[in-house]
Symmetry: none
């Protein structure tokens, strides 16, 4: 994302420039504008406030947003956000430079996407448009969306087209959320289509990571995705000393 730095601009010009940036990217950061326009952040803030009063944009902490546009992921409240962030951080530590990764959807995955550092070089396949859009801002990431039908509830891509596409790729690491995890049943889910996609994802990955908040442990759904021998890591927010965690130690590597 390279913008042409501007110099010696009149106030009106700066304002116009800012509006333009907003139209292009739907948001601006005060810090970016300061560099781009070569004025202090104070001046940028004053500009943004003026434009905001004129109703041209929506001033927010750190910058401004387009008034007519809302990022879909900004309005999502995440349940158990702290836990999910914990999980996300552990998950990210598994990704090393140059890896090819595949991710599912869900809020945990979205949280993970948000926490992925700007300087990570990797290729990310995903079935979640939200994850893809979040990652699109990372300069060194190659983001590839798997094609297929968008599921209305889960906002991830699934269906036969997706399964077929997944069968054609090979990745190093696959990150999946889980609806149910049980020591006997393995990984389970309630939706048949979801199960098909997850199976396909696991199949195309050298190693699979299941990410799951502690409360979902020891709960089973109707359909089986896979058993523990098909997955390589289980990441939860629970401490390793937790008794729930201990049960799974024999079956899978728990982080």
């Amino acid at each position: 994302m390279k913008e042409i730095p501007a110099s010696g601009m009149l106030k009106k010009e700066r304002h116009a420039y800012i509006i333009n940036q907003i139209n292009l990217h739907n948001k601006v950061l005060s810090s970016d504008l300061s560099l781009l326009l070569k004025v202090s952040e104070d001046t940028v803030r004053r500009d943004l406030n003026e434009l905001s009063e004129k109703g041209k944009l929506l001033k927010v902490h750190g910058g401004a947003l387009s008034k007519s546009f809302h990022f879909p992921y900004e309005q999502i409240d995440i349940y158990a956000q702290e836990s999910k962030r914990e999980i996300a951080k552990k998950a990210i530590s598994l990704i090393s430079e140059g890896m090819i990764v595949l991710t599912g959807g869900g809020t945990t995955m979205l949280e993970m996407a948000r926490l992925i550092p700007d300087n990570l070089k990797a290729t990310i396949f995903t079935i979640s448009p939200l994850v893809a859009l979040e990652l699109a801002e990372r300069e060194f990431l190659t983001v590839i969306l798997v094609g297929g039908q968008l599921n209305k509830n889960s906002q991830v891509i699934m269906g036969s087209k997706t399964v077929r596409e997944l069968s054609e790729i090979r990745v190093d690491l696959c990150f999946l959320g889980a609806n149910g995890i049980d020591i006997n049943e393995g990984i389970t889910d309630s939706d048949w289509e979801v199960v098909q996609v997850k199976k396909a994802m696991i199949k195309s990955a050298a190693r699979t990571v299941i990410m799951c908040i502690g409360e979902k442990l020891n709960s089973a759904q109707k359909m089986k995705v896979c058993s523990f021998n098909e997955i390589d890591f289980l990441i939860t927010d629970l401490k390793s000393s937790n008794h729930k965690v201990q049960e799974y130690r024999g079956q899978v590597k728990v982080l």
Copy 2:
């Protein structure tokens, strides 16, 4: 950009000179003009105020801006928002029940997605995750995202994978935005990858609709997407009586 300093100019001459500068650079600084015209800044200011009152330019603190040239920005948001909505509405009227539709990305397309009624039954293929997410809320729509690499700037999916996937589908109607439209050059764009995807989209569609705000008419970019005989409709926000529109009537059906 070196200007020829002028000396001993009459007021009228200075005014002409200033207007000329404005036409060339879209802005002038009082300080620059003072040096260039070898008169005091006060005189320059008086000149600018006079020209401003005559409506020849827009006086601002520090100099003046062109009036006729509305920046590629400035108010374009509000103004173009309306335009794009107009276009979007016309476009939607082309979709009938049960159709299979393919859409590109861009703000016009997003506006269109927002305006698609809740009760429309159709299948929508798209290369824009944003459009897909917007449409995911429509109960009777089947939304399918084409797979491929997510472009960071445009936030649409493109690349060879996308082109290949597009070659495997057949749709009734394809909606595309245009970067440049010119009566001789046809539809043009500035990015090679974009051109490849657009070509593939047009190829897989029985009929193609180009959506484009009036301003972009009669502007050409480096790369050619297609000529007018490959597209079926051109939708703009201009009235059908507009002379710009008339020119295209012979080549394509203009809405």
